[in-house]
Amino acid sequence: MSERLAARFAALRAQNRAALIAYVMADDPNPDVSLDILRALPQAGADIIELGFPFTDPMADGPSIQRAGLRSLKAGGSLKRTLALLAKFREEDQATPVILMGYANPIEQMGYADFAAAAKFAGADGLIAVDIPPEEDSPLRAALQNENIALIRMATPTTDAARLPKILEGASGFVYYVSVTGVTGAKAIGPAAAREAVQRIKRATDLPVAVGFGVRDAESARAIAEVADAVVVGSAFVDEIAKAVDADRIQDAPQNVAHKVKLLADAVHGAARTAQQESARA
């Protein structure tokens, strides 16, 4: 796994804190503002960045991230441009882990080996390929392994006891628990059920467990952060960009996103965690 990612989770564990993983779409609303937004994220308290690359047909995304993808494409966004954006971000920040997130076809077109090399060069630490399930991911996993990039696997409410071991078997980096059956940003999370699921997964793996897809507000972020190692928030940040675009004030987007990130980061970092949960498997 990427050292940057491992180091970040180790540091968080030492402080008994959960991580806030902040998702934004590359080149949304345009490359310059997008770079400013990326740079604002760690300062506002994001521990890890999930950087989306655009795809015309994002079948697992709700309206917020769909529109973010369209804004990105309209601004010339692509997988190549996403990696260029990341490389620029890395000029000033070598510490914050960045996980790329997107769909299979842009990666397919670049080719797995070329993608892995380019992602490494740009400074990526992991990949979430939404529509490449374990049954299909071995060639990609091999290519990423060569470059020390984690392939993040997902567990969901439909993952039963028989399937979970299959998911964990080839997982690296962390396990992403998709807390709702649905698309990104659409349903609100049920924190109780998500907490239970996290505990179930943690009993089966030493990897950190992140929870995402339904977390929008500080309250649910805090509830999740009490048991999970990381909380992923995306649509709530992307919506801030949309609002700035709609108000014709895209220059405000970085600041507005940062404000929202700080709100959620404070909740995640302030969550009451017992040391015992950290060593549940020890």
């Binding site: 047909d57 769909y103 299979a104 076809n105 842009p106 399930p133 399937r163 998709v178």
Partner: protein, 406 residues
């Protein structure tokens, strides 16, 4: 015989692959469902009871077998091989789509699902799905691009009359591929009770296989009917290819008959070139991953999917079923194309010579059948899949011919 040929019958493999094509590229949330569906389908396929129930509905509700008709005047017009039409346009709802919808809804009920969703472009699959949902009393939601809803008003009204909810899709370009995205999003959201009836040989495994199997009734009947009429196999079969369900339904029972040439006809729209104003995924696309499988796609360098164009809404899809991609890659089938104008001309010719207005989709196959007939020459014979009737297209045709209908 190359190894590839020997394995035809057994494809897809256990991973849903046809060679390098196919697979299961869906979000993890859907994977357990896709596995469930496969298990349920294997069980149904082995069940005599399921088969008998499906056959009874195909006979009494759809009107099968559909006739194999000798198109005598069209044959004379081209002066080559005999042309036979497999008359899928005579099915209930006017196209081959219902063969698949019946199979899938019976499967859905076997699995205890209580809600049906579907995507539609032209509205043909939507109408067929709404029809079987009405027949079996299941609630039905059809996703349809807002642009297509505007273009296909009669079918939208038909679906509503049949009790279906037609949900407009405004995301992306608001056409068929976006309707499919939205159906997948609905499925991922309502995994417990919902069955997704996909309208063509697309989607994740096992859809390309099960849709093919349900449509193969076309080829099985046609093969037996041709042998009965001519005392031999045909020399060629030909069908239009959108996603490719009517084509694979005709082709599949002939795959192992090596003497039978197989032709698919894609939509060349305004011509196959880098403007991408066509829907010929094999003729003008490259392999990639969309909607659950690896296949040929219209796409740019970055892997973004392009919209394409065809005068026929049912062919206006940027991909093609993975089994067609495979048959192309091993050379077992040949994929030709026909432009909007050629399809329009064939539409009129068929009406004038045979008294049959074909669907604009089927008219693409008709546009190439003359070439194949002449190439084969007299004494040979061809089966063309007349996949649907053209009533739904008269507005589009009138428009293209510069005629205004009241």
């Amino acid at each position: 015989m190359p190894d590839d040929l020997r394995t035809w019958r057994n494809l897809p493999d256990e991973n849903g692959r046809f060679g390098e094509f196919g697979g299961r590229y869906v979000a993890e949330t859907l994977m357990p469902l896709v596995h469930d569906l496969e298990r349920a389908y294997r069980e149904a396929k082995a069940s005599n009871e399921f088969r008998a129930e499906l056959d009874a509905f195909l006979r009494d509700y759809v009107g099968r077998p559909s006739p194999l008709y000798f198109a005598e005047r069209l044959t004379a017009h081209y002066g080559g091989a005999k042309i036979y039409f497999k008359r899928e346009e005579l099915n209930h709802t006017g196209a081959h789509k219902i063969n698949n919808c019946l199979g899938q809804i019976l499967l859905a009920m076997r699995m205890g699902k209580t809600r049906i969703i579907a995507e539609t472009g032209a509205g043909q699959h939507g109408v067929a799905t709404a029809t079987v949902c009405a027949r079996f009393g299941l609630p039905c939601t059809v996703f349809m691009g807002a642009v297509d809803i505007e273009r296909q008003k009669p079918n939208v009204f038909r679906m509503r009359l049949l009790g279906a909810e037609v949900r407009p899709v405004t995301s992306g370009a608001a056409t068929l591929k976006d309707a499919m995205n939205e159906a997948l999003r609905d499925w991922v959201t309502n995994v417990e009770n919902t069955f997704y009836i996909i309208g063509t040989v697309a989607g994740p495994h096992p859809y390309p296989e099960l849709v093919r199997d349900f449509q193969s009734v076309i080829g099985h009947e046609a093969r037996a009917q041709h042998i009965e009429k001519e005392g031999k196999l045909p020399d060629a079969v030909i069908a239009c290819v959108g996603g490719g369900s009517n084509a694979i339904g005709l082709f599949h029972p002939f795959l192992q008959d090596e003497s039978v040439a197989i032709y698919g006809v894609e939509a060349a729209g305004r011509g196959i070139d880098d403007r991408f104003e066509h829907s010929a995924a094999i003729g003008g696309g490259r392999p990639g991953v969309l909607h659950g499988n690896r296949t040929y796609l219209l796409q740019n360098e970055d892997g973004q999917i392009l919209e394409g164009h065809s005068i026929s809404a049912g062919l206006d899809y940027p991909g093609v079923g993975p089994e067609h991609a495979y048959l192309h890659s091993i050379g077992r089938a040949t994929y030709l194309s026909a432009t909007d104008d050629e399809a329009l001309a064939a539409f009129q010719l068929c009406g004038q010579l045979e008294g049959i207005l074909p669907a604009l989709e089927s008219a693409h196959a008709l546009a190439r059948v003359g070439d194949v007939a002449k190439q084969l020459g007299a004494g040979k014979s061809i089966i063309l899949n007349l996949s649907g009737r053209g009533d739904k297209d008269i507005f589009t045709v009138a428009d293209a011919l510069g005629t205004t209908l009241a």
